[in-house]
Structure formats: C-alpha cells, structure tokens
C-alpha cells in the first residue's frame, strides 16, 4: 500500500509535468507570439464597447532602447495566426537572434469578432479606430482589417515600410528575414 502511495505521488508529478510541457511545447495551440521572442503583450482595454490597444508604453521603451517595434495583431480564434505563431516557434532558434537586437515584439491580443470599427489604437492621448489609424500613418491596409497583421514602426510610430495584409508572404525563414531587413 505504501509503495502504491509513493507510485501515485510520482505519477501525479510526472503527469503534471507532462501537461505543463504539452502546454509549452512548440506548436502548442496557445494564442500569441511564442515565449522566446519575449513579446510585450498588450491586452485590449475598454471592452465591450471598444478594443483599444495602447502602444504608448511600447513606443516609450523603443525610444529608451533605441529599437523598432514589430507589432503583431493576432486573434485568439484565428487559424492563420496559429500558423504564423507556430512558424515563429519552430524557427525561434534562428529568428530570435535576428529580432532581438533591432525589434521589440509587441503582441496585441484580439479576436476575429473584433471588427475594424471596434478596434482602436492608442498612442498617448490620441486613440484612433483601425481605419483612421491606418490612414494617419499612410498605411494602405485601411480598407480591410485582416488577422493576423504586422506593423513595423519606428520609436515614434512611423511605419518603416508598407506591410502586406496577413503574414502568408513571410512564413519562411528567408522571407521573415527579408521583412526584418526592410526589403521592399
């Protein structure tokens, strides 16, 4: 009986460890930029009327650290977001050293149900709906909100280059590197 209790204790530890590993494993279904990228996660505020993402702190940090922002907008229920996140996860060893010296990765956590007129971006005391924000920075993607989306911004929220809708065109390591190098 005592041996059985010991076995159960060991089993529980092993089982819990296995579950934890499963959660953290590459390709796990948890939403968001994978941990190795040390992303600054921003949750929306002002719900349910609006889903407002405040970039102020991220921009302030970018100015302090003399870095750029790699702003990722993902949705918790978006399969294409999971694909891109899995790609980042599977190639973290190669990609993280390329991201880290130049970029602060910012992870905006949204959902597919959040439409363009509900999604707001705040910078300082200015909060703009998605399309207005896009127009304000001269981004051509004002017409349609697509999940996932990526913006490359300097520390003053100026776009570094026009990004495509979605992430499908940079889901290989060489193409992701093209993006980081701002190849147009």
């Amino acid at each position: 009986m005592r041996r059985y209790r010991v076995f159960c204790r060991v089993f529980c530890r092993v089982f819990c460890l296995a579950l934890c590993l499963a959660t953290l494993a590459p390709g796990a279904t948890a939403a968001g930029i994978p941990a190795p990228y040390a992303a600054l996660v921003i949750q929306p505020a002002g719900m349910p009327a609006r889903y407002e993402f405040d970039l102020s702190a991220a921009l302030a940090r970018a100015r302090r650290e003399n870095k750029r922002l790699y702003v990722y907008l993902g949705a918790s229920d978006c399969p294409y977001c999971r694909k891109y996140e899995a790609f980042l996860d599977q190639n973290a060893q190669e990609l993280v050293p390329q991201f880290r010296p130049q970029y602060i990765v910012v992870d905006l956590r949204s959902a597919l149900s959040v439409s363009a007129n509900q999604l707001y971006i705040r910078i300082g005391d200015r909060s703009l709906a998605y399309a207005d924000f896009q127009r304000s920075i001269g981004d051509e993607r004002a017409r349609m909100l697509v999940y996932p989306s990526v913006w490359l911004l300097d520390a003053y929220a100026r776009p570094l280059m026009q990004m495509p809708a979605g992430t499908g065109t940079f889901q290989t390591v060489p193409e992701q590197l093209e993006i980081l190098r701002l190849e147009q």
Binding site: A18, A22, Q171
Partner: protein, 276 residues
C-alpha cells in the same frame, strides 16, 4: 495490476498529447513558391514573348525603362506600379509602346500603351491585380524597333478573385481627369485619369448565388489634348478596380484634356478637363 494498467494509459495519453501538441514541420508553413530573383524569366513569359514579339530580341539591360513595384503589396488586388522611362520623347528616338505583363495572371497582358511624342516623358503609374507570386514586367518598344524590358518579382496573391467595391455602381464609367501639379507649358505635365468601374475579372465568386460574377472591365482609354493624341491604352482586368493612369502630356497652350473610355460591354464614357 488493473490500476497499473490505468496509470499506464494515462501516461500514454499525456505523452501522446505532448507528441500531438509538438509537431516538428520539415518545411515552413505556406507551401508558397521558392525564391526568385527580379530578373528571372518564367515559363509563362517565355511562351508569351514568342507570341508578343516573335523572333525579336528583348534586351534586359537596365537603363532604358524601369518598373517599380513592391516586393510585397498591401493587397494583391491593388499593387502600385510605376513605369519610368529614361528616354525623353524626341522625334529622333522615343518610346512608342509600353507593354505591362503579369506573368502568372489568368490574362497576363495587363496593358498596352501606344504612345506619341505628346507624352513628353513616357512615365506611367497605375495599380494592378496580381493573382499569385509572379514577375511583373514592362517591355518598352522604341521608335527604332528595339525592345527593352525590366521586371520585378512580386509576392502577393488573390488579386483576381478579391471583391471590388460596388458601393457606387450608379457612377459606373464616370471618368475623372485631374492635374496633381501645376501646368508647365511646353514641358511634361503630370495628369491622372480615373474611371469609376469595378473592373470585374470574372474570377470572383458571388457568395449568395455561388456563381462567378462575369468579367466586365475597362477595355481602352484614349487620351488626347487639344485634339492631339497623347496615348491609347488597351487594358485588361489585371488593372485594379477604378482603373487609374498617371501620365504626362505636353501642353503647348490652352486646350482640353480628354479621355475616351470603352468597356468590355460596349459602355462608352468621356471625361474632359480644361487646361488653362
């Protein structure tokens, strides 16, 4: 023993869960075409070249004509394209024709621009649809018969099946001309012509009827100034909705800038602008 078996199954499930949760892909997500350089050819272009310019050499030496296009566009349905000519339009030698090709589009010849000296400088801007990763190329035919080409590889897709904006179909065909910069007499002056038109490709699925919306697009735009031809453009649905061309013309005095438009269903419209 039964307990041991149960524990074993639980551990097996946990281990199985871990295995399922951690697939290691051999290749990157997407399965998209491999790398290509801007100057590469393609089977589509090789075939098209033989039909468009049979037995004629096409020089790819940089210098005469240049195409500017983004490596990745915001949307495949609206890829900004700029054609720059390094040759002034002089009677001795000028750009006679520009052909814009999207290798992998269902209809690859997007535009053929038949130019005159009245263009002054053979530079054009427009927006095109790109249906899949493809080279976009411009071929300039000079008045001496030489052909010069430049190309760019564009990574985008879905341009030909994306729905255009149909909010203002009552304005279909309305042709607008404007001058973004002040007029300079006897010098190339920039102008824009825009035709309000969905430029339907025939590859867009109607989500209600599950039928393809038939092709209906602007076929040609003929631009003149003071009754003198500036250029004729033969167009295709590879040009984005609300087809727009930015071009140059040389005003020698007051006159009317005119654009005559025809679409694939024999619609005809005219837009004019008085140039003072």
């Amino acid at each position: 023993m039964r307990r041991m078996h149960f524990i074993g199954r639980l551990l097996g499930l946990a281990a199985g869960g871990l295995g399922v949760a951690a697939p290691q892909a051999d290749s990157a997500v997407g399965g998209l075409p491999g790398p290509a350089s801007h100057a590469d050819s393609s089977p589509e272009w090789e075939s098209l070249r033989d039909r468009l310019f049979p037995s004629r050499p096409v020089s790819a030496t940089p210098g005469v004509v240049q195409i500017v296009a983004p490596l990745r566009a915001a949307y495949g349905a609206s890829v900004p394209i700029k054609i720059l000519s390094n040759l002034p339009q002089t009677p001795g030698l000028y750009v006679k024709r520009l052909t814009l090709v999207v290798d992998k589009n269902p209809s690859p010849v997007a535009a053929v621009l038949d130019l005159t000296l009245e263009v002054g400088q053979a530079d054009f801007e427009t927006r095109i649809r790109v249906d899949e990763y493809s080279h976009v190329r411009v071929i300039a035919e000079l008045s001496n018969g030489q052909l010069h080409m430049d190309s760019r590889y564009v990574k985008t897709s879905g341009g030909c099946s994306a729905p255009p904006n149909r909010d203002a179909l009552n304005l279909l065909g309305k042709t607008l001309l404007k001058l973004p910069e002040p007029v300079t007499m006897n010098r190339p002056t920039t102008a824009d012509v825009t035709v309000l038109h969905p430029n339907d490709t025939g590859f867009e699925l109607n989500q209600v009827t599950v039928m393809y919306i038939p092709a209906h697009f602007v076929r040609s735009i003929k631009v003149s100034f003071a009754d003198r031809k500036v250029f004729d453009a033969d167009l295709d649905f590879s040009i984005s909705e609300n087809p727009t061309l930015r071009f140059n013309f040389v005003p020698h005095g007051r006159g009317e800038l005119k654009a005559e438009v025809e679409d694939s269903k024999d619609g005809h419209w005219t837009g004019t602008l008085a140039v003072l």
